[in-house]
């Protein structure tokens, strides 16, 4: 097939000649849609069709390429096979030449195909930067199935060879770059996104949106470098990529590099054949998708309309429809492109649509930004503020689907209604009225606000009494407090930072006052700094904590004992029935078989319910007050000490097994965790604090969910601070990188003590960091650069703590006066609380419910059925 005799007449466009031969070059998404559309049209059956596709695959869903990393096989991405039925498909062959005279296409495999009509659907290729080293092994682009396969194999092979997670760089922070970065991250690669301009997604979002986006990405644990121009890729001895160098001469280590610096239309065939191409590339087409040669059409990413190519599938699909319609005799016209986009990166919501940059003359912006929550939303409106022209949504794109259809239409509602938070997560005074603040009691923000404005409440306690917000689990109290204070401030009333009715000072002020005056008893402190009365359950524990932070006093020493909440008073945790739980310290979660045996024996002998906690240790529940010393004597004799599960103090340092056993570990995370736990044990603080140490970036210890998180690196330790789980989960933020152990510990010392001294009562580290002047940067200045000049003082204080630490339980057992506090009754010191009742469940005992009590216990506490009253013997009645 080399010749045609049927002369092509351009006026034939309205009908297709009998047994015309149609050739499609490219078998991508748009070609597929074109064939599908053509097949559905009348008149197309007279066409014989040949498709030439260079990839070794049937047409597949490139938009879903990233899912191939998790897909079982390439088949899952395949597009429906029907459009190719009965079509000659030259799979794996590349068209290398078009002869317009002869109307033939030649492939690299030597086939020559004659055409009457030729459709170019060759798409784009992913651009690379022609910097030195851009062809090194380990450098990829992100466009095809083969690219993805290559990336996956490289990661598997290199991380095995190196015995650690890889570091990767994605050059280019556009839509595709972010998607590629997310994919690498998902494969366990530590990713840095390198962007030459000042912000990510510079084509879709403005500066403020880019900033919000950057925060979101960083929160996901990816690093971002903006304003960084890559000048060179460095190689290791074996010619594999090893790192990047930038125009400011700084460098970045990388075991894998992905270029995502844009796409270029694959117009090389057309160029060589002398078709008109656009100045910036792309085969020029008219609004019927015809090129400068009337027998040749171009559709998809390779086609340029008004000088522009479109890197999205939707305009390509429109072109496919237009071309199919024309070939079947219609006169469809390309309607122009909708360039609305939504980023596909899990956990990061970004959408940009319409006139996102407000280029329309006179247009107005309505902006909602919540930098703390990482949300930035902008709507672009017509000059009368009625018609929606476009918008940018970062951090919360839940309204994208409802807004996009409104493009060019009147919004019909107050634009701000589309911008307010759709789900309330961040604690903010800007909460919409309907937001539920207290989930336990279903109290909305407006009820709390009106408790202040209408009912005259002036503090959390008042609002609690009035609305029940905060009256159950208490988790929402900080949020309630914020709302109350915001309302008070709005009403021009002063917001009190007083600890309670007995102290006009805030906790931080009181801490300083006590530190400076050197007073060491509650009575003295109350007299000097208080405003009368005898204290209460708010200020007493706060003062006890301050005194303990300033110098390891035993919780039961002298007057100190009167200040303690029952947990600190008996050094155990109160349970719902009035019994207590016991948690021995198990530093770093490491325990010997002998230790386990002792705990097991104690639990068995005292009939305690046993559970592994969420903090890598063992909790023994159901101990009675008068039993605590006996239980602890056994534990202390076996070498255990208090785990401070009851104190506002260090809880646990969670660790993963680390380099001693784990094939990926790069440092000894268990040893560090134990060292940290032993260093900070017993240190009293405004709220409990937790730490975690992971032996590599896989992060099995969930360190970033802790107040202090340490993650091992090849060179040392990365330190994260301000994380927690609980009511308002927060990921810890990076404070410092690649620290040696000594610097790490000194930095944690200062962080912890600075927190202890200045945080509010019951304020954990995350909200504390958030409220610090300068946030995390301000904190870094204080603990690393000593901007307040207090480092020496903090270091000394920590040294004192470490030197004077003694186990509270051991000290208690040695002191008869302290032991006397564990009497169950002043007139019957060893008689068990007769109201306790237990039921067996799953082989252990638990407190009986009210219903079980009333059905099981008759006259004077005689148990029947499955119920037993705790007697001097601890037999559990087996049902």
């Amino acid at each position: 097939m080399t010749e045609t005799d049927a002369p092509y007449r351009s006026d034939m466009a309205s009908s297709v000649s009998t047994s015309s031969h149609l050739v499609v070059v490219g078998a991508g998404m748009v070609a597929h849609r074109f064939l599908e559309s053509l097949r559905a049209r009348e008149g197309a059956e007279r066409l014989t069709i040949t498709v030439i596709g260079e990839e070794d695959a049937a047409p597949y869903d490139r938009v879903g390429l990233t899912s191939f990393f998790s897909a079982a096989s390439a088949d899952e991405l395949s597009l429906s096979p029907e459009p190719l039925d009965g079509i000659r498909f030259l799979r794996g062959e590349r068209a290398v030449r078009i002869d317009r005279e002869a109307r033939t296409v030649t492939t690299d495999a030597g086939s020559t195909v004659r055409y009457d009509e030729l459709v170019l659907a060759t798409g784009s290729y992913a651009a690379e930067l022609a910097v030195e080293g851009y062809r090194l092994a380990g450098v990829f682009v992100y466009r095809t199935l083969d690219d993805v396969r290559g990336i996956r194999e490289w990661i598997a092979q290199r991380s095995q060879a190196l015995g650690r997670p890889l570091r990767g760089a994605v050059i280019g922070g556009g839509l595709l770059g972010l998607e590629a970065a997310g994919a690498l991250d998902g494969l366990g690669v530590g990713v840095t996104i390198v962007q030459s301009s000042n912000r990510l997604l510079s084509a879709q979002v403005d500066d403020a949106g880019g900033e919000a986006l950057r925060r979101l990405i960083e929160q996901r644990g990816l690093d971002v470098r903006t304003n960084s121009r890559t000048t060179e890729l460095a190689a290791d001895a074996a010619g594999r990529v090893a790192g990047l160098r930038f125009d400011d001469l700084s460098t970045l280590d990388a075991d894998i590099v992905i270029f995502s610096v844009g796409v270029r239309p694959r117009d090389e065939l057309a160029r060589a054949a002398g078709l008109e191409v656009a100045p910036r590339g792309g085969v020029v087409i008219d609004d019927g998708c015809r090129t400068s040669d009337p027998a040749i059409w171009a559709i998809g990413e390779v086609a340029a309309v008004d000088g522009q190519c479109f890197g999205l599938v939707a305009p390509g699909y429109s072109m496919a429809e237009v071309a199919a319609d024309r070939l079947a005799g219609g006169d469809a016209v390309f309607p122009g492109a909708d360039l609305s986009t939504k980023l596909k990166l899990s956990g990061v919501e970004v959408a940009s649509f319409g006139d996102a940059f407000g280029a329309t003359p006179g247009s107005l912006d309505v902006v909602y930004a919540d930098p703390i929550a990482g949300v930035y939303k902008k709507l672009v409106l017509s000059d009368d503020a009625k018609t929606l022209l476009g918008g940018i949504l970062v951090g919360d794109a839940s309204n994208y689907s409802s807004l996009r259809p409104l493009l060019g239409a009147e919004l019909g509602a107050d634009p701000s209604a589309y911008l307010l938070p759709s789900d309330v997560e961040a604690p903010t005074g800007e909460l919409p009225d309907a937001a539920v603040v207290c989930s336990c009691n279903n109290v909305a923000a407006h009820s709390i606000r009106s408790a202040v404005t209408e009912e005259g409440c002036t503090d959390v306690a008042g609002v609690k009494a009035c609305t029940r917000a905060g009256a159950a689990c208490g988790s929402c109290v900080p949020l309630v407090k914020k709302l109350v204070n915001a309302e008070l401030a709005k009403a021009g009333r002063t917001v009190s930072t007083a600890l309670c009715e007995h102290f006009p000072l805030s906790r931080a002020q009181l801490f300083d006052a006590v530190r400076i005056t050197g007073l060491r008893s509650f009575s003295e402190i109350l007299e000097r700094h208080g405003s009368g009365g005898r204290g209460c359950d708010l200020c007493k524990p706060a003062v006890a904590s301050i005194l303990a932070s300033l110098g390891n006093v035993h919780p039961l020493d002298g007057e100190n004992a009167t200040l303690q909440d029952t947990n600190d008073h008996v050094m155990a945790n109160l349970q719902r029935d009035g019994s207590y739980s016991v948690v021995p310290r198990i530093p770093g979660g490491e325990i010997t078989p002998e230790g386990l045996v002792v705990i097991g024996e104690v639990a068995r002998d005292f009939g305690l319910y046993t559970k592994i906690t969420g903090g890598q240790r063992i909790d023994l529940f159901g101990a009675r007050l008068e039993q605590l010393p006996d239980i602890w004597r056994r534990l202390v004799d076996a070498g255990f000490e208090s785990g401070h599960a009851y104190g506002k103090s260090l809880r646990t340092v969670k660790s993963c097994v680390g380099s001693t056993w784990c094939r990926y570990g790069v440092q000894d995370s268990v040893k560090l965790a134990i060292d940290l736990e032993l260093r900070y044990r017993g240190l009293r603080s405004p709220h409990k604090f937790k730490m975690g140490v992971s032996g590599c970036a896989r992060e099995c210890a969930e360190a970033r969910g802790k107040d202090v998180g340490v993650i091992a690196t090849e060179k040392g330790w990365n330190l994260y601070v301000g994380g927690n789980g609980g009511f308002t989960p927060r990921h810890a933020q990076l404070l410092a990188e690649d620290l040696d152990t000594e610097t790490l510990i000194r930095t944690i010392d200062r962080f912890v003590l600075y927190y202890v001294r200045t945080a509010d009562r019951l304020q954990r580290t995350a909200p504390w960091v958030e409220e610090l002047e300068g946030g995390i940067d301000g904190l870094r200045d204080v603990v690393l650069n000593d901007s307040l000049g207090i480092a020496e003082d903090l270091d000394e204080a920590m040294a004192r703590h470490v030197d004077t630490y003694r186990d509270e339980w051991k000290a208690t057992l040695e002191d008869p006066e302290k032991l006397a506090r564990f009497a169950s009754f002043v007139n019957a010191p060893r008689t068990p609380d007769p109201s306790l009742a237990y039921v067996e469940e799953r082989g252990q005992r638990r407190p009986a419910t009210d219903a079980e009590r009333s059905s099981g216990i008759s006259n004077g506490g005689v148990a029947s059925g499955a119920i037993t009253i705790a007697g001097p013997t601890l037999e559990v009645v087996r049902s």
């Binding site: 005898r534 359950d537 109160l574 002043v826 007139n827």
Partner: protein, 109 residues
């Protein structure tokens, strides 16, 4: 009146439980030497724990805060001063007398 314990068995500003028949009573000795007796059972949780709460004051009233859910009670009258958003519940109280270093309980009120 029934003798329960010696005054010195009670530590200032800290409670103690006493078993009177099959009744559990919470005793408190304030800093100025007054002794109060209220029910040991916390009306909000049902657990017998009030003697383990923190002793303090609200205005003029000597108080105890329940160690369980932190409701605050007036030790003199048993009145609930801060119900923490729940319905206020009053504690039973007992007449107390201190004679010759001994603490005696009278009628429940």
């Amino acid at each position: 009146m029934i003798a329960v314990c010696g005054l010195n068995d009670l530590l200032p500003e800290r409670g103690a439980a006493a078993l009177v028949g099959d009744e559990q009573v919470a005793l408190f000795r304030t800093l100025d030497g007054d002794v109060y007796a209220v029910q040991q059972q916390d009306p909000y949780s049902g657990a017998h724990v009030l003697s383990r709460g923190i002793v303090g004051s609200r205005g003029e009233a000597p108080t105890v805060a329940s160690p369980m859910y932190k409701q605050v009670f007036d030790l003199r009258t048993g009145e609930c001063l801060d119900p923490q958003g729940r319905i206020p519940r009053r504690l039973r109280t007992w007449q107390v007398e201190v004679r010759a270093g001994q603490v005696y309980l009278g009628e429940a009120r």
